[in-house]
Every structure is written in structure tokens, then in C-alpha cells.
Amino acid sequence: MAAALPDLLYALAGGGLIGLAAGLLRLATGQIAGISGIVREGLRGPERGWQLAFVAGMLIAGTFAAVRFGDRLSAGLERTSLPGLLVAGLLVGLGTGLGNGCTSGHGICGLARFSKRSAVAVATFMVAAMVTVYLRKLGGWL
């Protein structure tokens, strides 16, 4: 296994923070912390104030990380070329728009409220992503 024990403890603690953020937003405002939906509604409205605030909170966290750790926390981002990032972004945008959610909206909020749609979405995108990585390895492109 390619992860040391401290890594897994950080993963558990970070996951707890993500769950706390999603639960807090749900309890306080009734909303779902799904990032793709938040970005879409933040851009399109009609009501967009809280979505923009949520994104601003994430950017503050990102600024802190950039100042404190440089680009260390995004290791691996440099492996994808700009055209690759364009294709990846387009597919992620189209897919989360059509499927109504991503790893946060379906993977955390949807599963936390036992949504059948989210369970199907999570199983589908996990398998699709694992197969894609496997094909990339076969093609020598990983």
C-alpha cells in the first residue's frame, strides 16, 4: 500500500473537517455542499450570495496553503499538460452538470443522506475513473 500511517491519519482528520463543513452548511442553511453545483449557481444565480462566499472560503484556505507550503500540496498537477487540463476540465464540467454533482455533492452529501441516485453516481464515476487510469497505464500515458 502506497500510504504511510500518518498519511492515513491526516486523511481521516481532513475527511472529518470536510464532513463537518458539509454538515454545518446543511444544518445552518439547509444547503448541499456540492462544489460543482455551488460553482454553477454562483455563476448563474438567481440567488448566489452564499455560493460565492463558500468559494471565497475555499480560496482563503488555498491562499493559506500557497503561502505556507508553496505548491507542495498540489503535487502531481504538473504532470498534466495544458491541453490535457482543458479536456479534463471540460469533461468534469459536462459530467457534473449532466449528473448533478461531483465527489462532494454525490460522494459526501448524497451518501450522507442515503440518496440512491448519489450511490449510483458514485459507483459509476469511481469505476469510470479507475478504468480510465488503467487504460492510461496500458497506453503508457500515466
Binding site: D7, L27, G62, G89, V92, M126, V133
Partner: protein, 133 residues
């Protein structure tokens, strides 16, 4: 108040992604690479998030209304259709190309502005194309 809560929740969410290691495409691809040196971290992150979120969602559901007085919104869609499965498939493929999904992309924007802005611009185009209603 709603805006302040959302700002705080966004900050917590972003910190969670950074602490967990999920802002790194290497960690994400390491999890998706099931036939290689598999890294279970992403599953641990989801497990940790669900352990905290599930009881909080249950409390919200039982209350029926949020602290703000608004209803706990339930997505209207209930059916499992081709749009859901096809969309999830496209998302999975895109996710596996760069190891980036929307949350980590936002959190990495400041550290690596050029590649992440490229990804996010294409993502927004995709989001808007998928919903022209």
C-alpha cells in the same frame, strides 16, 4: 449570517481537502490506480467525512428547517436515468485525466494559477453547456 456561515464552511471544507492530502492529483490517481501501488487515502477521507456528515444530516432532516429558518432542501430529482449515469461516467473520465475534481481545483488555484485556471475555465464552459435551460 447565511453568507458568513457559507464562508466559514467553505474555509473548513478547503482546509479539510488540504489536510487530507486530496488537493494532490498524485494522491487521487494513487487511489484510482487499483492495479498498481494502491493508496487507500481517498476512501479514508470519504469514510471520515461520512462519519461526521451522516449524523449531522440526520439531525437536519429531523428538524426539517435550518437554523436560518429555511427548509432543508431535498433535490427534486429521484429517478436514476441515463443523464445521471452518463454524466457520472464523463465526470469519472475527466477526473482520471488530471486527478482534479472541482473542490481540489478551487483550493489549488492560488498555488498554481495557470494550470488550474485553465482547468476551471474549461469546467465552467462544460457546466454551462450541460445546462442551457
Amino acid at each position: 449570517m447565511k453568507v458568513l456561515t457559507a464562508l466559514f464552511a467553505g474555509l473548513l471544507f478547503g482546509l479539510g481537502l488540504l489536510v487530507s492530502g486530496m488537493s494532490s492529483p498524485d494522491k487521487v490517481i494513487g487511489f484510482l490506480n487499483v492495479t498498481g501501488a494502491w493508496d487507500p487515502s481517498l476512501a479514508v477521507v470519504m469514510g471520515g467525512a461520512l462519519m461526521v456528515a451522516t449524523p449531522l444530516f440526520a439531525v437536519a432532516n429531523r428538524r426539517g428547517t435550518a437554523w436560518s429558518g429555511e427548509a432543508i432542501c431535498a433535490p427534486r430529482q429521484q429517478v436514476i436515468d441515463r443523464k445521471l449515469v452518463g454524466g457520472a461516467m464523463l465526470f469519472g473520465i475527466g477526473w482520471a485525466i488530471a486527478g482534479l475534481c472541482p473542490g481540489p481545483a478551487l483550493v489549488n488555484l492560488i498555488a498554481r494559477p495557470v494550470p488550474v485556471a485553465t482547468f476551471l475555465t474549461a469546467m465552467v464552459v462544460g457546466l454551462l453547456l450541460s445546462r442551457r435551460d
